[in-house]
Symmetry: C2
Subunit: 413 residues, 2 copies
């Protein structure tokens, strides 16, 4: 097919919505949304459905030892494929789009290639990775992490979940303890279509996000120790109030983010005062910060600012303070050429497009150090995700699918 004809190709938006809705009926919750926690029966049913579609579309399907599933469409030449991937497991009160969109849009692209008798130079694959959400088993994105050699398969298979289940056993239980070896596969490129899970595109009325990379994430826990005391009899000047230090740190985290500029996120999601009684000055406080930035230096500087503040505030209150890192993920920039291609493709299709970082983690970040990788965002209504009210319009879904198609066609040649 000539180049001009390829430029006129469009996915079948209704067909894509049909598959999204069909998958959305598996693990459906009364009142809307889905629950397909990794490696539960609902996850198995979802997997079976998608694998069935892969086979109907003539893909060569393999399941690896971590239960990652890839269906490959051969190209004119052999070699590493261009992968369109994401995940189909969900959080406990999830929506129809988070993860599923990227996988099913990939299938729709394959479907269109088949319909149009198009042979690509390189193989093309559609993949979904095990346990992206990390709801039952930690960490999240373990399937893609093992797939790309960032985590060890044996260690991950031995993971014990929150409910006491062993990952390897659950994988076998649902029939997805695959044979294919895992960890060494290198793709030619990896492209993931995903909902934004934030409010930016929706608020700004922009259709496509050309994702520049994934923010680095620092999770830190701080423990402040003072002295429990009677709320009525302890003079204010005699207090060693760990809760007061924690509250000051929380306020400083917000200030640090505002002063660092729009790329810096700071969240205090969790704070506990102990003993937690109304009339007892708290002698212990535990507080956690979640800091994110696409700029690694800015991220580190913000963390250092908070640690310095912690020590100063604790000393002033006559308390001790300790901190420990719970997670340290460096920013993951995506491939500049692919990001340009996404932006250009959106513009050529007549869609508004904006470069932006991803605030959430994705399977794509596991590929970024191994091959050219990028993501395409479409809007989330009101920024809502991880919530049964998660919504992206069929028009935006179709727009994203068409950008994915263009990017795939160019990358696979």
């Amino acid at each position: 097919m000539k180049e001009a004809a390829r430029r006129n190709l469009r996915i079948d938006g209704q067909r894509l919505m049909g598959r999204i809705e069909a998958l959305g009926r598996i693990g459906a919750l009364a009142g809307g949304g889905v629950c397909r926690l990794a490696l539960t029966d609902e996850d198995r049913q979802g997997r079976d459905l998608v694998v069935g579609w892969m086979r109907e579309l003539g893909l060569d399907v393999a399941v690896d030892r971590l239960g990652n599933v890839m269906g490959v469409r051969p190209g004119r030449e052999e070699g590493p494929p261009v992968i369109m991937g994401s995940h189909i497991d969900t959080v406990a009160t999830g929506g129809l789009y988070d993860g599923a969109l990227g996988v099913l849009a990939g299938l729709e692209v394959v479907n269109l290639l088949n319909d149009s008798d198009i042979e690509t130079k390189r193989p093309v694959a559609v993949a979904f990775f095990t346990n992206e959400e990390g709801s039952r088993f930690h960490p999240d994105m373990m399937g893609s992490a093992v797939h790309q050699g960032l985590l060890d398969a044996e260690e991950v298979l031995a993971t014990v979940g929150l409910d006491g289940a062993v990952l390897a056993d659950d994988l076998a239980r649902i029939g997805y303890a695959g044979e294919a070896p895992v960890g060494n596969m290198r793709a030619h490129a990896y492209v993931e279509l995903h909902i934004e899970q934030g409010p930016v595109l929706d608020k700004e009325g922009v259709t496509i996000g050309a994702v520049t990379g994934v923010q680095g994430i620092f999770w830190t826990e701080y423990v402040i120790r003072g002295v429990d005391n009677h709320a009525g009899t302890t003079p204010m000047s005699d207090r060693h109030d760990a809760g007061h230090v924690a509250a000051r740190l929380a306020v400083e985290a917000r200030l640090a983010a505002m002063e660092a500029g729009p790329g810096q996120m700071a969240t205090v999601g969790r704070m506990e005062l102990r003993p937690g009684l109304t009339n007892v000055v708290p002698g212990e406080a535990v507080i956690r910060t979640d800091l994110r930035n696409i700029d690694g230096e800015g991220l580190a500087a913000t963390q250092e600012r908070l640690i310095a503040f912690l020590h100063e505030a604790a000393a002033k209150e006559g308390c001790t303070a300790e901190w420990r890192p719970l997670a340290r993920f460096a920013p993951t920039p995506f491939d500049a050429g692919l990001v340009d291609l996404i932006e250009r493709s959106a513009q050529d299709l007549g869609h508004s497009v904006k470069r932006m970082p991803s605030g959430a983690g994705h399977d794509a970040q596991m590929f970024a150090s191994n091959c050219p990788t990028a993501m395409i965002f479409v809007p989330s209504k009101d920024g809502i995700s991880h919530n049964t009210n998660e919504y992206t319009s069929p028009e935006d879904i179709e727009a994203g699918g068409n950008v994915l198609l263009r990017v795939l066609l160019e990358t696979a040649e």
Copy 2:
């Protein structure tokens, strides 16, 4: 006995310590301290021991419908007694002195009067009141509150405790559902010796506190509602972070107390962020303040300042905020004449003495509106109370007992 001879009377410090230690063996905890929660078997054993001593000392003992126990020593004339009272129930990890000191010092005063063949003009009584600590049944100080007509006996008897027990049933179970009517008894005066439960006397090296009154106490709960959001994808300027508002309020509470002056206490003992996940902007926060001041106007002004701040901070963050009072106790001033007498008595005995408010609630505050009432404090080592390490030296205990004796002798004439 002549006035001069009376001035030479001293209590038997060793005998008083002996009774304190004997009562301290009931409900004793391995490693020190006691647990005699109200209306448990340990409380019963403690009550039986003290009632036995009352009878040995020839007091006419009555148990009322709320299980309050009073032993009366007749005077030359009939009429309302001067009561020396406190409580013998404890918190779960209590010490030997909180409450017990006032009751057993009262018994020691009676013992001395008996030994010295002294007849007082007015009757003299020693009393202990049910459930001063409020550990299993709320509210605290219920026994003395009903005794002095501030709470209704039937309502209090119907109280269901934290563990589901009904107060009236537990009272009957331990054999202290008394016959004597309760609520109408008016004393000639009420004097309570108690440990300070704070660090002031110990730190300043002063032996006796002439307590001017009990601080007013305002407990308030604030609920702030914003929007749960993703910590990575939600721009800082788009957040409705209930936890941030709560943290600001906590910092403001400290500032308000410092700016109001040394009489104002402010404590944030309890703060909860929901959902309480590291990577979720908290859409709900619950925070409680404990404000205290001997000055009622200052107390109210501080509370108003915090409520105004709450509304302003919530509005700035695009959150809603509600508050509700959990407790509102006006300051309780003690009788000026009695406070003077305590101060004079301490000085005449050669003890250092300081006027000071009480930061903790006591049975005495229930009497203050009905008859001349005051309290005598002795030091708590390092200010520690409600803790198995609670300690007051035998020398300080004896000093307090001698001040109580003098105050009793003068008031009962």
